[in-house]
Symmetry: C2
Subunit: 172 residues, 2 copies
DNA sequence: GTTGAAAACAAGCACAC
DNA sequence: GTGTGCTTGTTTTCAAC
């Protein structure tokens, strides 16, 4: 085997185990992390800081429950544009993510141009978002609103890196 | 005015300001939070614990950068089903979120049944996900894969609760 | 790159208001 | 529901390996 480097990124085995532990339980103390990985606390702290500074860990996020906030309704709004100028698309994207209730938005290729995930209080609020924040933009041609029955987190990107091939094909 | 309660949820003004501060900078210490809000540390700690126990704050999440992990390609896969049995849908959902590279998945109403957000290393990996993890399920009729140019976070649910009416109705 | 130890810091708890 | 002081534990820093 070459060394402990993984893939194209400069992440060694310890980095990956650290990331896995971090993702699994973000609230843990540095001491607890270090103990689990069998390394010194200072080493653990250094690696975590390094991963943050390199941008591998983009950040930490507090997740709110929309329903508890009085926003029990979620939807994905598919937005299709007419004219596609670079500035128009950029300004629309800016306006979309600045709209209260918008959780995330994707600029995608294909039939649709944007997918917008929103949480709102009721159907009226949903209509108001579409009419007052989306279709008001002249570049928007059509929208389609899809109610979200359920949203679930996936195992995430890390699962592709840590366990890419269950079939042991020699070494990578 | 009635009191400091907001909307249908039992959240007062301090709770909302606390949540806003938490979301803005999740890494902050309790002391820093308390100082910003002008309250005692114990009060701040109590409120935060209460918000967590009530489920308003669902949790804390470590956000990884897929590109730094060697997964520069993101896509949204739209999945349409043929047969819609309750168990079939549930098992498919389980399988989808367990697929390495899947960041999140939505079960939606309408034309499509699932929207799956994935991060992968290249186009081949994307094809493999669709063929080996999605279309292998007999309930799946068709899929459409849409490349993600860019994903952006919205201002979030809290913005709908904290600043619903910009018109100053009395003092805050 | 890793470690252990000391100093600075923050969190949790019981209690008083 | 809010504030205070103490005790405990944790993060940080630094010299050294």
């Amino acid at each position: 085997m070459v060394d402990a480097q993984a893939g194209a990124s400069g992440l060694d085995d310890l980095d990956l185990r650290l990331l896995a532990a971090l993702v699994r339980s973000p609230g843990r103390s540095n001491k607890a992390l270090a103990d689990e990985l069998g390394i010194a606390e200072s080493t653990c702290a250094h690696r975590v800081r390094s991963l943050r500074s390199r941008g591998v860990v983009s950040g930490v996020q507090v997740v709110l429950d929309p329903a508890s906030l009085g926003l029990p309704l979620q939807a994905v709004i598919r937005v299709r544009l007419g004219r596609h100028t670079r500035e128009g698309v950029g300004r629309l994207f800016d306006a979309i993510v600045a709209t209260p209730g918008v959780i995330e938005a994707f600029h995608v290729a294909g039939e649709d141009d944007f997918l917008v995930h929103v949480a709102v209080e009721d159907a009226t609020a949903l209509r108001d978002i579409v009419l007052q924040h989306i279709t008001v933009h002249e570049s928007v041609r059509t929208t389609e609103t899809h109610l979200v029955f359920q949203r679930r987190e996936g195992v995430g990107p890390l699962a592709r890196v840590t366990a890419p091939s269950p079939t042991a094909s020699g070494r990578r």
